[in-house]
Subunit: 184 residues, 2 copies
DNA sequence: CTTGACATGTAACAAGTTACATGATTGG
DNA sequence: CCAATCATGTAACTTGTTACATGTCAAG
């Protein structure tokens, strides 16, 4: 439901190709909305069929031709409608396969589970570094879009990511401590 | 991919009907894995076809008949294989539609966005209360399963939920403060 | 007499994942 | 010469969502 609106949101800033969109997702909202390239192209087709976006083929000489998509009036209306709708309770949609594995972990040894948690903690630390790049690309896009308020909202989402990862690291550390106590 | 393993995990504790499973999901892992009833019945069919579970029809007199599913040897093997596999980086799968709306929020007024964040904060506070029930049902199931280590892992996942919600509330408060400053 | 718990599902659709498929140019 | 970037997609499959469909019994 939301990938469509995500695409409309980006096209609302300006025209883009599927490839551009793919990069934009990756460099900005990937942390909370990962979009596969194949999915983006599928959605572009469907949005175009519904008249929410339109494209123009741009013939290039030293690069492959491309389709530049832009949002239509109908598309902008749909985007703004979605944006002002009351968001559903997001907590009820939270999903985490790692936590299910933890939930059922009594079928493994305590040592194996400590390793699992340590791996999770390391993943978090690595991801925290990757988020720094996201902050940098916010600066980059800010200049492109030329809208001071936009980057404020972007940074709020980046803050969420940082807080989430910190929380995960702390939870993992606490959990490891508890398991080590149990192992005695 | 994981609903299957979640079902196997519960059946590994003991036999259950689809209805029981539906309740078990709701009362324990719902926070990080919500399963629709319809999805559970579909997966049960598919797991049975694959020989990972088997069922016995139980005829009841004052209640509707039911199918009691139990895990097979093959099912247990598959479950343990999944459990000991290295979990994928979970952070790259995190999804949150609310954050996308925040990301694109410069198309709305600051006041509207403050309201949105306040609603989010309230949802979090309400959900925090709901999680207390989950903690209680951990105690209930602990007695049923009679495995002291199991409930330790269950409580780790409940801790994660509490930390996550606290983090969300704090983030929402900070964000509201920032927007109020901006509104001046 | 009505609500909630028990109990099982199907059908249609939407969204996400994985694998495949192609091919040019640029920079090191 | 090899890897990365540019650029577009299809096909098959798995998951997840929403709406529909049916019916009993117990308790308040």
């Amino acid at each position: 439901m939301s990938l469509k609106h995500g695409i409309l949101g980006f096209l609302n800033y300006g025209s883009m190709t599927g490839y551009d969109l793919s990069k934009a997702f990756l460099e900005s909202v990937d942390f909370f909305w990962h979009a596969q390239t194949s999915q983006i192209y599928r959605e572009l087709n469907s949005l175009e069929k519904d008249g929410l976006i339109a494209y123009e083929t741009i013939i290039q000489h030293n690069k492959p031709n491309k389709k530049e998509y832009s949002i239509t009036k109908k598309g902008t209306e749909e985007f703004l409608k979605w944006l002002s709708e009351e968001p559903q309770n997001e907590l009820s949609r939270f999903k985490n396969e790692f936590l299910i594995k933890i939930f059922f972990s009594d079928s493994l040894t305590v040592e194996e589970n400590i390793k699992k948690l340590e791996k999770f903690k390391n993943d978090c630390i690595n991801y925290a570094e990757a988020l720094i790049n996201t902050s940098q690309s916010i600066d980059f896009y800010q200049r492109k879009v030329n809208n001071p308020l936009a980057s404020l909202y972007w940074s709020l989402t980046a803050d969420f990511g940082k807080s989430y990862i910190l929380m995960c690291i702390q939870w993992a550390e606490n959990s490891i401590t508890k398991l080590k106590e149990e192992a005695l």
